[in-house]
């Protein structure tokens, strides 16, 4: 009978909290959007599935051994933890949890061994998260693969479109102001590190967003990643109204001259040029832009095709599977169901909107000073969201002028936006860490 009772008390129906039920529904919603609506399925299928796994009651898949031990809350375990943390024996669970969260890395690693002594172990998704994201490796490897899939030809044919990619990053920083404003008004409790991590949603670039938030605000990573990928999928809905509002019919009809031919040598030299500028000006962006340029160099140099193929296929796919499941581990109910998540979702869409607007306005500004007119619709592609935003530019352009193919022209600002948000990521990580954030 004990066993039967035990099985029932270990079953999900007995243990499930309302929060977990909500999060399982959220996971199913993400799967629905990914599969039926084609919302960035490569990421949202693993994230949604991982989110459901993380909320299976009693399985503790997203918990560390210490979390599991604290959840078990056996008196012996709590006493041992309290001793290690320098609390008095008999401290409350809350006190132990609090002391653990503020303990130094060495004390935490001691508790981790202690939890193992009591027979607790890390959950599967927690291990995936540690290896893939906490180490920083998965976003960097994906960025390398993206680099190996990126063609800088259109950008090299018209380098001044880099300015469009720069302007669109204003979405990032405006969002940071929004987040600190919410904190100032007392609506939310975002630290400056949180604000920076939320801002990066405006970079419209998944791996960059995950990399930054894993460093600056790991507890918000789930919400930030979900917002970033969802809004990237929604770019065809978010951007066109803004683009139309800020441009005249005439401007949208501007036809651009065909791009010049770019030689193989220029394409090989470009990632090296970027790398050297990073080395000279912005070391803090070196991991992200370094891996990106490495991927691109492998693609363009033509002598390591087998490495480039692997970076674009097996390696990026394997990494994506584990990255997605790991992000899903951050959709555990106790972390995700927080008013902050609503703040993040609200700020994220503002970030996309402002980035889009600034890209378009920058294109109009540049037209004031330049002979070769840009069609301002390609400015919106500067937010990145590769290649979706460039396709949106093309589609809106075709509405105004059915003979005007903007796709290639929009690819320039599109990939410029990737570089732009990696630069913004680097400077934010460096500044926030020196602010003691």
């Amino acid at each position: 009978m004990d066993n039967l009772l035990g099985l029932w008390q270990e079953s999900g129906l007995y243990l499930m909290t309302p929060g977990q039920m909500v999060m399982i529904a959220v996971g199913l919603l993400l799967l629905f959007l990914a599969i039926n609506k084609n919302f960035e399925p490569l990421l949202l299928v693993p994230i949604g599935f991982g989110g459901i796994l993380a909320n299976i009651p009693g399985a503790e898949l997203a918990s560390s051994a210490v979390d599991a031990a604290l959840h078990g809350a056996h008196p012996d375990v709590l006493a041992a933890f309290a001793h290690t943390l320098g609390l008095e024996i008999g401290s409350s669970l809350e006190a132990v949890k609090d002391a653990y969260n503020h303990a130094s890395v060495s004390v935490q690693s001691q508790l981790s061994l202690q939890a193992a002594d009591f027979g607790y172990s890390n959950g599967m998704l927690y291990n995936f998260y540690s290896v893939a994201i906490a180490s920083g490796i998965a976003p960097l490897v994906i960025f390398m693969g993206v680099g190996a899939m990126t063609d800088f030809g259109p950008l090299l044919a018209n380098p001044k479109t880099l300015f469009l990619g720069a302007a669109a990053q204003f979405g990032i920083f405006a969002t940071i102001m929004g987040a600190v404003g919410m904190s100032y008004l007392g609506w939310m409790d975002f630290s400056i590190a949180d604000a920076a991590a939320i801002g990066i949603i405006g970079g419209a670039d998944g791996p960059t967003a995950i990399y930054v938030s894993s460093l600056l605000a790991p507890e918000l990573l789930g919400a930030i990643a979900v917002a970033a990928y969802s809004y990237m999928a929604l770019v065809p809905l978010i951007q066109p109204p803004i683009m139309r509002a800020l441009t005249t019919e005439e401007e949208r009809k501007i036809s651009m001259t065909q791009l010049r031919v770019v030689s193989k040598r220029e394409k090989i030299a470009f990632p090296i040029v970027v790398l050297i500028l990073v080395a000279m000006l912005l070391p803090s962006a070196a991991p992200l832009l370094g891996m990106f340029c490495f991927g691109n160099l492998m693609k363009e140099c033509g002598v390591v095709d087998r490495l480039s193929d692997t970076a674009q296929n097996a390696l990026i796919n394997i990494t994506t599977i584990f990255l997605g499941l790991s992000v899903g581990s951050k959709l555990a109910a106790d972390k995700f169901l927080d008013p902050k998540t609503l703040g993040i979702l609200a700020l994220g869409i503002v970030a996309f909107g402002i980035g889009t607007a600034m890209g378009v306005l920058m294109a109009k500004l540049m037209n004031k000073f330049s002979e070769h007119k840009l069609n301002p619709l390609i400015g919106s592609a500067g937010v990145s969201a590769v290649p979706m935003a460039a396709r949106v530019s093309n589609r809106v352009g075709l509405e105004a002028n059915p003979q005007n193919f903007l796709l290639m022209h929009a690819m320039g600002p599109n990939v410029a936006g990737v570089i732009g948000s990696a630069v913004a990521a680097g400077v934010m990580i460096s500044m926030v860490q020196s602010m003691g954030g």
Partner: protein, 80 residues
């Protein structure tokens, strides 16, 4: 503290956005320099053709080739 977080946000905005613009401006200049240097001193013997289609990062197999291969298989099967 409340003042300070606004101040920190403004700092991030100014220096962050500034760095992005400075870096990309330098990159524009460096790229133009690099391109003109290469086009002047190391022109390609044969002019390469720019790819006619955009990069589609999420699709690793050229769909046209796929179509051709499928058609070939189909044809072969029909013959049997």
């Amino acid at each position: 503290m409340q003042e300070s977080i606004i101040q920190q946000g403004v700092d991030l905005l100014i220096f962050g956005m500034g760095t992005v613009f400075v870096f990309l401006t330098v990159l524009v200049i460096a790229t133009l320099g690099m391109s003109s240097f290469i086009r002047r001193f190391f022109p390609d013997a044969v002019a390469p053709v720019t790819e006619p289609a955009p990069t589609t990062p999420s699709n690793s197999v050229d769909p046209r080739h796929l179509a051709i291969i499928k058609a070939a298989i189909e044809k072969h099967r029909n013959k049997q």
